[in-house]
Amino acid sequence: MTEVDQAAPAGPRVKAPGLGGRLGRLGEVRHLGLVAALVLLAIVGLVTRPENFATSSNLVSILALASTIGVITVGMTFVIIGGGIDLSVGALMALASVWATTLATQSYGPVVMIVCALLVGTGAGLLNGILISYGRIVPFIATLAMMVAGRGLAQRMSNQRTQLVRPENSLIVELSTTRVLGLPLLVYVFALVVLIGWVVLNRTTFGRRTYAVGGNPEAARLAGIDVRKHTVMLYALSGLCCGIAAVLIMARTTTGSSTHGDLYELDAIAAVIIGGTLLSGGRGTIIGSILGLLIFTVITNLFILNGLNTADQLVAKGAIIVVAVLLQRRGLKAHT
């Protein structure tokens, strides 16, 4: 077992010794670019709306907005580094929120509701993984099918209604309304997920195997990694993140609904890509993804603070994705 553990990270390294260190530096450079972009946006905010932007309540509001999709982005980062893609995240979050807010689930109290959301997310994620690993369906197709079916099931279950979290279960809503040190609890949940994600990806065998599986599945297999099983676990992890996000969205909106998480998959993928993770897998960081997501959230905030409409936001976001990827490609060339 220990032999395998050591072999796993060696997979990508075999080709060029020292590449790891160089990649590390490259990662930092990229993060610097993202941080610079965030600083630039902050300056725009300070200049255009000095009285609103840098207030603590605005910053808290930005973090709270980023939390739900942030949790999903962490799961997405794992999947993409592992060489896959998960299009079903938005639908799974909707499904988990609906399942957790049915009258029957609600009758068991808030704890069961949370467990339900996590189990639904993880279960659906497992199914994704099994279809991909053992059913040999391309990730894009398998998760596309799950996206469509999950959204449909959510609509069927909720009868297309918005399901309110009942007053006796308001413990869940308190995740959003209760503040500790000025921050709503859900921001702490988000931070905890990021922290755990970072540790798992960077400091555990599971994390190293994820890079190996995504970088070169054949080499990973030869190194003794059970690639199929690992892939199943990656999608289950992404599903679990959707379940957590479902709890957060229930807290924020006080509802479960089949319309929750609309186009989250695209936002999450975009954030991961902007964050410097390769869509082909094998390389990427969680911090990058979170910075990418924060850039998006701050842009939305800036646009609304300045009274601009959503159409312009979409154009800006699209432009940022293209620019980020172009810069990254140039960065890669410069360093290799």
């Binding site: 509001s61 399942w99 279960g123 199914l127 297309q160 209604r161 409409n309 159409a311």
Partner: protein, 353 residues
Amino acid sequence: MTHNPGRRGFLLGGAALGAGALISACTSNEPVAQTSAPAAAPAAAATGGNDAPGEKVVIGFSAPAADHGWIAAIAKNAADAAKQYSDVEFKPVEPTNDINQQISAVESLIQAKVDALVILPNDGQQLNQVARQAMDAGIPVVNLDRVFPDKLSYRTWIGGDNYGMGVAAGHFIGKTLKDKGVTDPVILEIQGIATLPLTQDRSKGFADALKTYGFSVTAQQDAKFTVESGTQVASNLLQAHKKIDAIWNHDDDQGIGVLAAIKEAGRDEFFMVGGAGSANAMRDIQAGNGVLKATVTYSPTMAASAIKLARLIAQGKGMSDLMEQQVPQSITLASETITKDNVEKYLPLGFES
């Protein structure tokens, strides 16, 4: 899967919820039936009464898939209205949000030679052609809400008044602020989907009505008609404006999210007006302890009325309360303002979001 033990319970839960929704929807429709019965009663002497059983007719029904409480209520109200009549065979087609599918669904109803069609199109422009085909084939079309551009494509149109909705909200906000003596108020508007003509009509009505009080909209954002988007937009808007006097939110369903954001931010220096008239919003207005003080209706009961109209048209009857021998060509519902004072009357008509 991993959650075997609880799974059956949860599934049962889904079923129980469905049943619950069914029951509540049924009860919510009873008053519709009640109000229509007395209306028809005096007319019975004159024309034989609209509700008296007549010749048996088949009514086809096509609407978008319900991804929103309002659309769900439309389908439900139509089915319930049809059930009321022994002489109506109700033939709904699978609801869809795909234009192409809705076109073929309507085509299938034309081929089935139904006696009348009730269509709420996903898009009036794009469904115009197939509605015209139905009319050409001699099947009267009752156009529900989203209008076909070509008058040859429908026999009768019934729908809500989006401009009027904005006007009603504008008057309520304008008058309340004027009475309070507020000058230069901060008025925010949270729209549904900004690109839809209906949203633009609502906003125009709102702006026009506010103008009569010398007020204008300070900021405007769109929230896509979803709860989640409502929360996001509202929490950002609350940051942008430290002191607000009034908010008009176009849609009560997304309003749940807007209200959640307001509660989270702990703000209450302003009042809010909703739109559409969901049961939830009405309960909030009745409780009277939140910022939501009123909502302006865009009632899905229009679907029940559309079925009634289609039945009359197919049977060749007029509306018993009117002088005309035939059903009118166009009926626009008035947008009514629901406040704490009259909410009781409207509660039974509210749709569950």
